[in-house]
């Protein structure tokens, strides 16, 4: 179950580069985007060198090859999250677009003024703003499952919200700030018992945990390739086929149609019905290579490694006078440590750490309401992945003492 870190780190060429002042990069920002292994970079490179063509309509060798690479990646992504069929996997640009697809297609066909959508206080802006927009357009109602002081969802409050007949419960599986891993299966079960449809923002969970959409019972589940060793510009929406079948198309154009007349069209079958225009083909190939890579390393081993690193990091960070950590204890969270350092703005923390090659993120991490809840404008955030080491955590701790020195 333990990872061979030396071997894994060799797969990520970027981890050996140095910054302008000759420091080796210590990448602690994988929650924003992960680094990419050679296996992914080379799969995309090979695609462009050998197989590039547009997909689906061509009959020539290259088109056939490109199509089977594109569709083959879909099959493997479906398997990775244990979807019942690859037809239930819609390629999108990213998690944000996946959520918007549900908001535009399913929600606009199914929600009317006064209908209740339940979200949580720990959502990323991508699972807030699409619903704000629908609220302005339709007059739907929004309620939020509160976050407790220790960074968990208040499930008792959720249960009372469910008495109000919600139509949709949309929530993050894992918080990008607190790191909280929410009890998705339980939340979904309760939502279904109340007659609501469920949408899960899996941007942070799919890269780090073994996710089984059927076991969870999710109706919709969204994720992005770039946070899981894959390229930017591609993500997926998983949806139960019965729901997807009944939904109107999202974007209109080529590939999403079965037939077009001058004044009408018939939409294509799943999953193509939701994929208008030439898609991100090389990126799909890269996404497929990413799930192959993660599968070969083993998701359980990755989760165990991250847990060990996170536990160590929280312990070490807590020892630093003036550091305040946000979120639950290591047992309830993924590889994220968001913190403040008394008297120093997170931007300054990040900037001074950068002098030593240490990459952390500073700001509200696209979760402004959550920061407001905790009464702070911003946090610094260190995050970990399969290639993170305890030595890197030690460097971070050393760097934070340096920050304290600069600010005296």
């Amino acid at each position: 179950m333990t990872l061979n870190l030396n071997e894994i780190r060799k797969d990520f060429p970027i981890l050996t580069r140095e910054t302008a002042n000759g420091k080796r990069v210590i990448y602690l920002d994988s929650t924003a985007t992960s680094q990419k292994p050679l296996q992914v970079i080379e799969a995309m490179n090979d695609y462009y060198r050998r197989s590039n063509a547009n997909i689906h309509r061509g009959v020539h060798t290259l088109a056939e090859e490109a199509t089977s690479l594109y569709e083959g990646a879909r099959e493997r992504i479906a398997k990775f999250v244990n979807a019942a069929s690859a037809r239930e996997i819609i390629y999108t640009r990213n998690t944000t677009e996946s959520i918007n697809l549900v908001a535009y297609s399913w929600a606009r066909a199914n929600l009317k003024a006064g209908d209740l959508v339940i979200l949580t206080e720990m959502e990323h802006h991508s699972n807030l703003v699409p619903w704000h927009m629908l609220q302005m357009e339709r007059g739907i109602e929004l309620e939020f499952i509160p976050v407790t002081e220790n960074g968990l969802l208040d499930l008792d409050a959720y249960k009372s919200l469910l008495n109000r007949n919600p139509k949709l419960v949309s929530f993050t599986h894992m918080s990008n700030v607190l790191g909280t891993i929410n009890p998705a299966g339980e939340i979904i079960k309760l939502a279904h018992a109340a007659g609501a449809v469920t949408l899960v923002d899996g941007a942070q969970s799919v890269p780090h945990l073994s996710v089984d959409v059927q076991a969870l019972g999710a109706d919709f589940y969204a994720c992005s390739a770039h946070k899981m060793c894959g390229p930017t510009g591609i993500g997926v929406l998983y949806g139960k086929s019965a729901l997807l079948e009944a939904m109107p198309p999202f974007l209109g154009g080529g590939d999403m149609i079965k037939e077009v007349k001058l004044r009408s069209f018939r939409p294509n079958t799943l999953p193509h019905k939701f994929e208008a225009g030439t898609p991100a083909i090389a990126e799909a190939v890269g996404f497929g290579a990413a799930v192959d890579y993660l599968t070969s390393v083993g998701m359980n081993a990755i989760a165990a490694h991250e847990h060990e690193i996170t536990e160590y990091a929280l312990e070490r960070l807590e020892e630093i006078p003036g550091v305040k950590l946000f979120g639950p204890s290591a047992e309830h969270k993924g590889g994220v440590a968001a913190f403040t350092l008394q008297g120093v703005h997170p931007h300054d923390v990040a900037q001074i750490l950068d002098q030593d090659g240490i990459a952390v993120r500073a700001g509200h991490h696209c979760a402004q309401p959550l920061h407001e809840k905790f009464g702070i404008p911003a946090t610094s955030r260190a995050s970990f992945y399969l290639y993170s080491t305890k030595e890197e955590v030690d460097q971070l701790v050393k760097g934070l003492y340096k920050v304290k020195e600069v600010f005296g």
Partner: protein, 131 residues
Amino acid sequence: MDDLYREVIIEHYKNPTYRGKLDPHDISFADNNPLCGDHIQIDLRVDSSGVVTEAMFDGHGCAISQASADLLVESIIGKPLEDVKKLNRQDILDLLGIDLGPVRLKCALLSLKVLKAGVYGLGEASDSLVE
């Protein structure tokens, strides 16, 4: 150790001379840096000939944004509004005495954007004010 955190910047961040609010004031404007939530408010008192007689800033944010606000406010007291309108990004960099990358430049320029939006009576502190 680090040019960006020259003593003068740390000093203006930790012990700003012009932090506070003016009530009453002739001009007051506030805005955020959407990237990081830095917030700056600038209040001015202006005499009948259009010269800034008093100025204060308030807000929260990183050392760069807060130090630049303190330095900027200090530099405009006693100046005609016509001169304030002409200030640009280079003036801020000169005040700070450092060079900045694109992300931190936004922190440094927030106070100037807020000041100019206030002086021009605009609704928003936009980037075009400091170009």
